[in-house]
Symmetry: C2
Subunit: 207 residues, 2 copies
DNA sequence: AACTACGTAGACCACCGTGGTCAACAATAT
DNA sequence: ATATTGTTGACCACGGTGGTCTACGTAGTT
């Protein structure tokens, strides 16, 4: 309600946000513990309820915080004008990991939100989630040039396979750099390695 | 300890096992609730601790139960003599879903085990897990015939891509048939759909 | 120095769900 | 009729819960 929390020093505010994001991502809303949050954040118990009215308010604050970041820093980087599926995916993947590297907890938290009880989320949050899903869908299915595919290949099926393969690649990367290791990831190297795989895909599927 | 539980009627025993597997899979060991387990299983609280000494014993029983099933019903179906990656994967995938359909909770439970705290699992369980991982690895990397790949394609990279694509397919299927819906899955249909994708892969990557 | 206003910590609260027990009783076997 | 086994759920001490409140530190103003 008050803007006390917003006026906090940047470092401290960020510490609290990260601690809370981590706790909610790990345990979900119900089983998340405010005691653990304040311990992780290194603040007194009272302060959390001084900044936020209650656990729910904190949760909603985080939800909005994550969506704002997403809308300001990540989504604008996605370019649906690129007609080539593989190129589009290359750029989107690098953007994604770049965002992930900078805000490791945000993605984890949003991931759990997507699976959360519907009745926990207000309608406007649901709409934001739907928008997010739509972007993910458009990224892979909208406004693409199919003409590059080989004639003897079903381009619809090929696209699905490509999508899965690239998401498989992303998962493998995430498995290696999970959690705190995320900051160690080398985006240039990722981009290169990824490019190698994309070249193989092009050779296999394109004319 | 005693064999009281084993002498139970098959239906009742299975009800308890399923309730417990589900609870542990959903909440992990620490946050799993014995109260919820007995409620789901439809038995009195006392019985659970009459059959098992404590929560841990129940957990270990389930672990062994799952591994036994896996070793008797699933692993023998995997055939590493098939030299063609795609064919091998086709058979393994059908086996996997067939097992999954019959024992939906077992896979979920084993999945959480793999991520569980190491100190929760005894050494022999760790060994069984390692064995399982090795089988998964061998399935994709051992004793395969690379000679079918096109000459202008890096067969190592191609194999990785194929693996990811097929696992992506599996994940999509699982997303559709999660939980109780698993029993609705049509294995023949799955096998056909999957075959279509495999054909596309063959056209793209093989000579 | 005195006063005010905000920031901060953590002891404390009533409450609830926990793993586990146990006395009472039902069912079955001898 | 008796002994054995199967079964239930009220009950227990306990630990962790979200949230409160008092006491204190700090900084600015007069």
């Amino acid at each position: 309600m008050t803007n006390t929390f917003e006026n906090l020093g940047k470092e401290k505010r960020q510490r609290i946000i990260n601690a809370a994001l981590e706790e909610f991502a790990q345990h979900g809303f119900e089983e998340a513990s405010t005691n653990r949050i304040v311990k992780k954040a290194g603040i007194g118990k009272g302060m959390l309820f001084y900044y936020f009215n209650n656990k729910q308010d904190l949760y909603y604050y985080l939800v909005n915080y994550c969506f704002d970041l997403l809308h300001n820093k990540y989504l604008p980087q996605i370019n649906l004008n690129e007609p080539d599926l593989i190129e589009r995916y290359r750029k989107a993947t690098v953007s994604k990991f770049s965002f992930y590297k900078e805000h490791p907890n945000v993605f984890n938290f949003l991931g759990t939100i997507m699976l959360a009880d519907g009745d926990l989320l207000t309608e406007d949050v649901q709409e934001k989630l739907d928008h997010l899903r739509k972007v993910g869908y458009d990224l892979v299915y909208n406004n693409l040039d199919y003409s590059r595919f080989r004639a003897d290949i079903d381009s619809e099926k090929a696209m699905e396979l490509i999508k899965w393969a690239l998401e498989g690649y992303q998962q493998q990367v995430l498995a290696n750099f999970k959690g705190e290791k995320m900051m160690d990831i080398d985006l240039d190297q990722l981009s290169n390695d990824f490019g190698d795989y994309l070249d193989v895909l092009k050779t296999a599927f394109y004319k």
